[in-house]
């Protein structure tokens, strides 16, 4: 666990004293990713660097696993904290392999072990070991260098990681890929991570908790969903953007909103049956047709069912796209807009229909959480600054 207790940094500049971090108090529980978020110059980097004592705090304390870091040997402290700096900072005089293995070497690993580790790390960051290990940093693109920077920080498998905008130089597509990779890895490794970002979407995606800073103060510290649902003040609201309700779509899974209750017809049902089912279930325009194995096979529209006689199998339209239980609502919304529909069938791993998701259910889910605004961040230790806001 990382615990910051009234951590404060005042930089004395010739002109004035800059308070870069102002009585920051927060806890990051073991195995969680905490995102430090905020506009440029709000003190994210300063706060991060006080944890591994690159910057000496003016006052306040940092505890790692309940141990006060000010009493620890700085080098030992740092060797057990993976550090990704904002400027990447690979050593240009060393090959990629030497860069990645530097901390294991400092810790005295034997040669076979750290060589093997370098290859594992290259796999983890999805780069070709053969092609890159013997190259020098100047022979890599900015995004590739940044990934090596992450690999270097992870190489000695430190329990705690500090990462300052680690994916900032990577293009959006590869960034999404590496974010996913990183989250997958985190599920296994369960490291305690402080992660600086100024990208709200990245914060929501990566963070178990998000700490929003402004001018050196910690303004709000909550889970991404609480942050979006209940921003504490106007600053946070504007920082999150006017589409914050839409951003929450990323955070909610289909499984949270799905209703198991879905009416359907079979190919050998008559259109008459279809019409009466549409009315029974209160559907507006259409009903799903499923095959023998309960997989979506098409839809019967109300217009057809009312005006035509015959069997469903002769009068259906193509099946709508399906969603899975672990898809997020953003994908659902996008499919709905693209297909001009207000509902989508939801399928299990075998492709069998297991329920449906409707636009109404989605808006209801998001809206109800919006209203439950007071006291839903009570699970997180309130901090003195935020209380004053």
């Amino acid at each position: 666990m990382i615990q910051l207790d009234n951590l404060t940094k005042v930089f004395e500049t010739p002109k004035e004293a800059v308070v870069a971090a102002d009585h920051i108090s927060m806890n990051v529980p073991d195995g969680e990713i905490c995102i430090l978020l905020g506009p440029s110059g709000c003190g994210k980097t300063t706060t991060l660097k006080m944890i591994n004592r690159i910057i000496q705090p003016t006052s306040g304390k940092v505890f790692i696993n309940d141990e006060d870091t000010s009493g620890m040997n700085t080098q030992d402290l740092r060797r057990n904290i993976g550090y990704v700096i904002q400027q990447i900072g690979l050593f240009p005089n060393m090959t990629i392999e030497e860069n990645i293995t530097i901390v294991p070497k400092l810790l005295g690993w034997d040669k076979n072990r750290y060589k093997k580790r370098a290859r594992e790390m290259m796999d983890m960051i999805a780069m070709d070991a053969e092609a890159f290990l013997k190259r020098y940093p100047s022979e890599l693109s900015g995004g590739q260098q940044q990934r090596i920077g992450v690999a270097r920080a992870l190489a000695a498998d430190p329990p705690v990681m500090l990462m300052d905008e680690p994916f900032g130089a990577i293009d959006p597509i590869n960034r999404a890929v590496i974010q996913d990779e990183f989250l997958k890895m985190q599920q296994e490794l369960k490291k305690t991570i402080m992660f600086v970002s100024h990208d709200i979407d990245e914060a929501i995606k990566m963070g178990d908790r998000v700490a929003v800073f402004r001018e050196g103060k910690l303004v709000q510290y909550s889970t991404p969903d609480d942050l979006l649902a209940a921003p504490k003040n106007a600053f946070i609201e504007s920082f999150l953007g006017e589409d914050r309700a839409l951003k929450r779509l990323n955070l909610v899974k289909v499984s949270e909103v799905v209703s198991a209750d879905i009416g359907s017809v079979r190919p050998d049902d008559t259109l008459e049956t279809a019409l009466s089912r549409i009315d029974d279930f209160g559907y507006q325009n259409s009903i799903l047709m499923v095959n023998d194995r309960h997989q979506p096979a098409g839809v019967i529209t109300r217009a057809v069912a009312r005006t035509t006689k015959g069997y469903c199998r002769d009068h259906f339209q193509s099946a709508p796209p399906v969603v899975r239980l672990d898809d997020d609502l953003r994908k659902v919304a996008s499919l709905m807009f693209a297909n001009d529909t207000t509902w989508l069938p939801c399928v299990d791993d075998e492709g069998r229909v297991s329920g449906q998701i409707t636009q109404r259910a989605m808006t209801h889910h998001l809206g109800s959480r919006f209203r439950s605004r007071p006291d839903n961040s009570a699970s997180i230790r309130p901090d003195s600054n935020a209380a004053k806001e």
Partner: protein, 243 residues
Amino acid sequence: MPIRSLKGGVTALLAVLIFIAGVWAQSSGLIDEFLFYLPDVQYLVVGHLQLTAISGGLAIAVAVPLGILLSRPGMARWAESLMQVLNVGTTIPTLAVLALSMSFLGIGIVPAVFGLFVATLLPIARNTYVGLKGVSPALMEAAAGIGMSPAQRLFRVELPNALYVIFAGIRTALAINVGTVPLAFLIGAGGLGELIFTGIDLYDTVMMLSGAIPTALLAIVVDALIASIAFLVVPRGVNPARA
């Protein structure tokens, strides 16, 4: 390939010219005159190189640690003013340095070595300092952040990254050194200066050139030598010559 063939043409022309010059020199007996000084040259080159090796070696041994010391954070308050002093020192002509050295230490090898040492020291110390100070702060932070001790930071990050600049300093300094050794003859040390200055005094062009040409060649050889050492020693990632 017009440039390439032009180059080839120039080289061929040069070879022909050298050949013609050689034929002329032979026929006029010039080569024999030069050969007359060959034993002297051989003897003096050794002395010349000894002066360079001793004074240059000492200078490197002192200047690099000095530059490192000045670049330490604890020295920041003194370093800049000391560098100013060194910079002023570099502008003093080497002949003046030798003269000063003679007025304190008298005549002979010792004042010569000392004067050469001082003249060589300055560029090396300055380049070492500037090279180390020029290592990007991000690298220093990364090195500190992964838990390197100050000594590890110096030897694994700072020096390798400053090495190219340091070598550039050594190159300049030794070129100056080799070129200055002839002056050391004036305060009583050996070296090719003996032929050069005696040749000047006696209006003996051949004698003078027998000292001057080997001096120039030595300067070129020493420079090439240091350049090849730098090529081999400076890590590829920070070696512009190998990029």
